[in-house]
Subunit: 383 residues, 2 copies
């Protein structure tokens, strides 16, 4: 096992009726900016619950945060925070709203906030942030990470800082009960691939971390189809919600090797073609496993055996079956796994290869195996 | 799944050489009381590493904390804290030293500290506490719990408060490399039964929590014999250490039903006969499973199937095999599971039953099934 540090102070309130806890978690003197997205919180009752819990507070609203939230939108919120003297940000929504709110919370203290994303700025301070989660998917409600896009340059970059970890997150599965099936499916696949990025590399002598990752994968495969079929199934949604939080709160990656190449390639597909984040992951994952089937063999076969019940047989044949069964899991959730299904032309591959080269991403991810030429190979298998 | 809250801000530094982190985690102005036990830290090199990391600090030492730490000993430390103007407690040792230090940290602010254990006092404040763990077992390094004994009344009671959670815990498997086999065995069984108390009740519709509990159990069964055979096996000790921390940091019990009857009965065996805590658990567990084999059937069979690979057969026969295999795991670690092996006479059973009655513990644990008469039945099967 590798040395590690672990510290996750995010306070979780999980279950029915927990939104009322807001009034115990924010000092009544605080001026709150309520951030949200396209307005689903008005239709699913979450907005009313939040307003009722915070009836005694000063609330300033900032809505309209888009999927794949942009720097441009976030800068408008920063202006509002400055003009309104906001002390606390309450993000009510899914990963996009929360990621945007993390960026906003840190950007308030920066002269050139985009440098947070390029890594040139150091985050020493951020406004305190709490969240009410309405879409289980990204795990951002219990971690330090955020992904932000920039329209004028077609870029999508990530940052991480303990300063932007939520003070608390409220996870009420009822808040997600009226989600469209498509978003539920995205959430399942997003959570699943988060686990894969931290698990499917090579053995690190860390059997507990392996088994905890497999616990999440198995539960997603078991509960995913139930909650996809009926997002109002409370228990199934609760299980998905807790899986997606546990998938990326730092726990399963302690002391083991990570990858994140599926995400790095996927982000470019979103940047160039606006494909939903989770769907880009479902496209790229089978390509990565195909291309690195030898290097990732031990973990692939372990995943096959323990999660998919694929018994021992010729290794290559087992791996083919493992990839096919994982694709079938994605497709069973209505998620296509081929570039052609999204109308992505072959010449996008060259653009992505060029971008990896221009960023100097010449040997990234698991054991530095992913070169720009491997990116070409991975995407070519997914046409 | 039941509603839950989760908040565990303890910062973990895990791995080789991490003791040096002490100097980054305690402000240099702090006057530190270094608490420890019988002196093993002088022989295993941990004391020297701590002293070297804190060469620039004022350290006041308080050693001699005994296994099953007593109120009487802790009160001496409280006097020392007051006379020396201590700001920070650094516990270097196993569960006893850390539990004692938690009690000391809170007792400093109480007029009648024993009321912390009886539940009559409220803990509003405690001295900050950090730990350097030398014995993986109790999980106290990452939770709010403490168990303290009182000599003059033969009592052993527990308390819990977020105020006494360590600010940080340093888990270096090398600090445990020279442990006697007996203590390693105790640690394995203690961790194992912690998981059982939070897992082996009845289904709660929480498959992720179940699988995470099973992940710890499986890893303990797999790695336990390796580390028992050779405590200096770094990877095996690292895995035991992380299992024992994860077994009782609050995570696996979120949203599910707990029991803790094995502990409550076991504590009395320690109080009356001074038997090592873990050994009392190994004695009591098979009795609880035997007596509640019908009520706990679903979880017993799930544990048998997923952890012990006991395939489907007649239920009663499967449960007999599950109990036998679990006993064999304990005995394989040199831990006897019968009262007679420890010279406990039959009349101790009546004393324990009387004590449960006098405390008003008339229907405790999993579904309130454990009455004083069930305690008699459980212990009678273990003579």
């Amino acid at each position: 096992m590798e040395n590690f540090e672990f510290n996750n102070p995010v306070k979780i309130f999980f279950g029915k009726g927990q939104i009322i806890q807001l009034q115990n978690q924010i000092a009544s003197s605080q001026r709150i900016m309520l951030t949200y997205g396209g307005g689903s919180i008005f239709r699913n009752g979450v907005y009313d619950k939040v307003k009722s819990a915070l009836a005694e507070y000063t609330l300033v609203e900032f809505g309209g945060i888009e999927p794949n939230p942009t720097h441009e939108t976030c800068m408008k919120a920063v202006d509002l925070i400055r003009s309104e003297g906001i002390d606390f940000i309450l993000a009510v929504g899914g990963g996009s709203v929360i990621d945007a709110s993390k960026y906003i919370a840190a950007a308030v203290f920066q002269e050139d906030p985009w440098q947070i994303l390029t890594g040139a700025a150091e985050i020493r301070q951020a406004l305190p942030l709490g969240t009410v989660l309405t879409l289980p998917a990204t795990g951002t409600e219990m971690n330090a990470n955020s992904v932000i896009s920039r329209k004028d340059t077609d870029e999508k970059l990530a940052f991480s800082s303990p300063e932007v970890m939520p003070r608390f997150s409220i996870l009420d599965p009822e808040s997600a009960a009226s989600l469209p099936q498509k978003q539920v499916a995205n959430g399942i696949v997003d959570s699943f691939v988060h686990v894969i990025e931290q698990y499917l590399t090579y053995p690190a002598g860390a059997p507990l971390q392996d088994r905890m990752a497999e616990a999440i994968l198995t539960t997603l495969i078991e509960e995913g189809p139930k909650v996809y079929a009926n997002p109002a199934d409370y228990d199934a949604m609760a299980n998905l919600m807790w899986c997606s939080t546990m998938a990326l709160n730092g726990l399963i990656s302690r002391g083991v090797h990570e990858d994140w190449v599926i995400h790095q390639i996927g982000h470019e597909l979103t940047a160039f073609h606006g494909i939903d984040h989770a769907r880009t992951l479902a496209i790229v994952l089978p390509g990565v496993w195909n291309v690195f089937r030898t290097e990732k063999k031990e973990k692939l076969l372990q995943y096959g055996r323990r999660v998919l019940n694929i018994e021992s047989q010729a290794e290559d044949q087992a791996i083919d079956q493992i990839i096919a069964k994982t694709i079938a899991f994605f497709e069973g959730l209505g998620i296509s796994t081929r570039l052609s299904a999204y109308g992505v032309p072959a010449d996008t591959i060259q653009k992505i290869v060029d971008r990896f080269n221009s960023r100097g991403w010449l040997a990234i991810g698991d054991r530095g195996m992913t070169t720009p030429e491997k990116v070409r190979e991975i995407l070519t298998t997914r046409l």
